[in-house]
Symmetry: C2
Subunit: 353 residues, 2 copies
């Protein structure tokens, strides 16, 4: 075991972990990512907006106005896969994070790290894909930056997008706001993105018809919020999948969450691929799905509104918030027993977004 690194001249207590190096698991979106953020980043950048631990930050903008701000770097490999590419992912990922705060996304920035030797034709396709996704989401890319690194120092390109949206007065969505009696709604089947990207790698000799679900969800969240229903939490289950996102919410809100396995939709082709590969679709990444925690009295209203939108047609109730066990997620299996769903530990699918 190596000594914990010394931080000469630095206040930061630093990664209290048994590892002294970054490993792929730190990018999983699961437990290791959470630990790295909690131990290395949060103590240094400590402020209320960041510490809230949501998909984005809510900050003042003078007067009554508030902004939702979010950022995401995209390193997905391969760059193109059935249903999408790194460009569509980069726009939708940040649009969705702003939307999950209840914000109306308006402006995006785009920072490109390009690899020497990248074909301009390929870059043009990625840019055009970003353009189309921007039009669909109704946002503008207002600022950009371009850097170039030597051949071998990036896989074609990495794209960071950051987003700014407006929050309606009184809107308070947060992973901390779940409460007993809330119903858990999921906007559609799980695992499409993760399986589509994995199959596109071709390493496993697996062929599949599965397409990524990448989509801008801001029109869906707007339809939900426009009902005036009591919506407490919105979150998109990306890296780490549904199970990890529900665990985050259970911990933030100090609630128990119970879901029913039979109610969780998974397409047959995704289920088959997961079966073959030993993956659990509850932990596989999605890029066009959301979870909503909604007051039970409003659940049918919200569901009806969701089902009228393009990316919410397959929305279903998958469970509810329960009093116990606090900060835990339980699943009632198809045979009627209960098991605890933990967060993703380690790395399942590297470079999925």
């Amino acid at each position: 075991m190596s000594e914990p690194p010394s931080m000469e001249g630095a206040y930061c207590p630093l990664p209290i972990t048994h590892r002294s190096q970054i490993v792929m698991g730190h990018g999983s979106g699961g437990k290791m990512t959470h630990d790295l953020i909690a131990q290395a980043f949060l103590p240094a950048f400590n402020n209320p907006a960041l510490m809230a631990g949501d998909d984005g930050a809510v900050v003042d903008c003078g007067g009554a106005a508030r902004l939702a701000i979010s950022t995401d770097s995209h390193v997905v490999w391969p760059l193109f896969f059935p249903g999408g590419d790194i460009g569509r992912l980069a726009v939708c990922g940040t649009v969705n994070d702003v939307s999950m705060m209840g914000g109306e996304p308006r402006y995006l920035t785009a920072g490109f790290v390009l690899e020497e030797g990248l074909s301009l034709e390929l870059l043009g396709k990625v840019i055009d894909s970003m353009r189309l996704a921007s039009v669909e989401a109704g946002i503008q890319i207002v600022a950009g930056d371009t850097k170039v690194v030597q051949k071998g120092k990036a896989d074609g390109l990495y794209i960071n997008t950051s987003g700014v949206g407006f929050l309606a007065p009184g809107r308070e969505l947060s992973g901390r706001n779940g409460r007993v009696g809330d119903v858990i709604i999921l906007s559609g089947p799980l695992g499409d993105h993760g399986i589509a990207v994995l199959c596109a790698r071709g390493e496993l000799g697996l062929k599949s018809e599965v397409k990524s679900d990448i989509a801008p969800l801001n029109h869906l969240t707007k339809a939900m919020l426009d009902t005036g229903a009591e919506i407490h939490v919105l979150r998109d289950p990306t890296r780490g999948g549904l199970a990890t996102s529900l665990n985050e919410i259970a911990v933030q809100s100090q609630i128990g969450i119970l879901i029913r396995e039979s109610a969780v939709p998974v397409r047959p082709a995704v289920a088959a691929a997961c079966e073959l590969l030993g993956f659990d679709p509850l932990y596989v990444a999605n890029e066009g799905k959301l979870i909503g925690l909604v007051a039970a009295k409003d659940a049918q209203t919200v569901l009806a509104a969701m089902r009228q939108t393009r990316y919410g047609e397959e929305s279903v109730v998958i469970g509810e918030v329960v009093r116990e066990p606090i900060a835990r997620v339980l699943m009632e299996t198809e045979i009627g027993s209960h098991r605890i769903l933990d967060v993703l530990s380690g790395e399942m699918l590297p470079r999925i977004c």
Copy 2:
């Protein structure tokens, strides 16, 4: 000569250039970067805030309030060098871009691409450096993202920062606003950052005492703007150096710019290193300097205010806006002749920021 790439199914006319691949020069900040942006990015993301061509975008925020938004990805190599590191650079770079719009920077996001195998001790030092720069600038890092790529796929880490600032009502700074009669002010000696980073690479066997000038310039710009003076343009001459920034402004404002070589400050150690390496300090990157175009009547007031601030003590007037030649930068040399200063073409120092 290769065929221009076909863009099947895409509207984007795409890089009309004789090269069909990204080369290091596309990241120089000079002519090739400009061409790539103009040909590939602007036609696709076309909107007024982006097309203004400034260091950041100015956008509405409901009511009278306006935001200044900017983004920068940082891929500097090496990660640490005399006077700074990638963390300080990442915070200051974006703080400065927001400041150059006349905005008061408030919130930053930070997106990390970490290389597998990166030491947590080193990451901790970078994070701490970002913390210290944030405190100095008086901004908050409110949202973040962490991705991990395989060993060899990044040089330790890349950091994107995006920034949001507030714009006072009526404040209109832009590279388009330069006008005949303006005086050109430079906040201090040129080339420190580029030479410090280059020497830190150790490849040239060159040793030098030069430290990077990386600094947050928001307190300096605030002091300038608080004078109430007529300030038309602010810009920080980073990649591509003073000559490239002045050319950008000359083109945007359709003005001529005349500077006097004898008035442009360069530290002896920087001048010596440039002499040895065949560099022109007018094209070397700075990270803690700014150029101001200020109405002549207010120049002394602004200079006095600048000299009272930590990063403006060495501010000087280096020239003025002239009627002709339009969209060109002229330099009066030390022997009294005039020569045209063009933008940087190709790549001088890769991965300088």
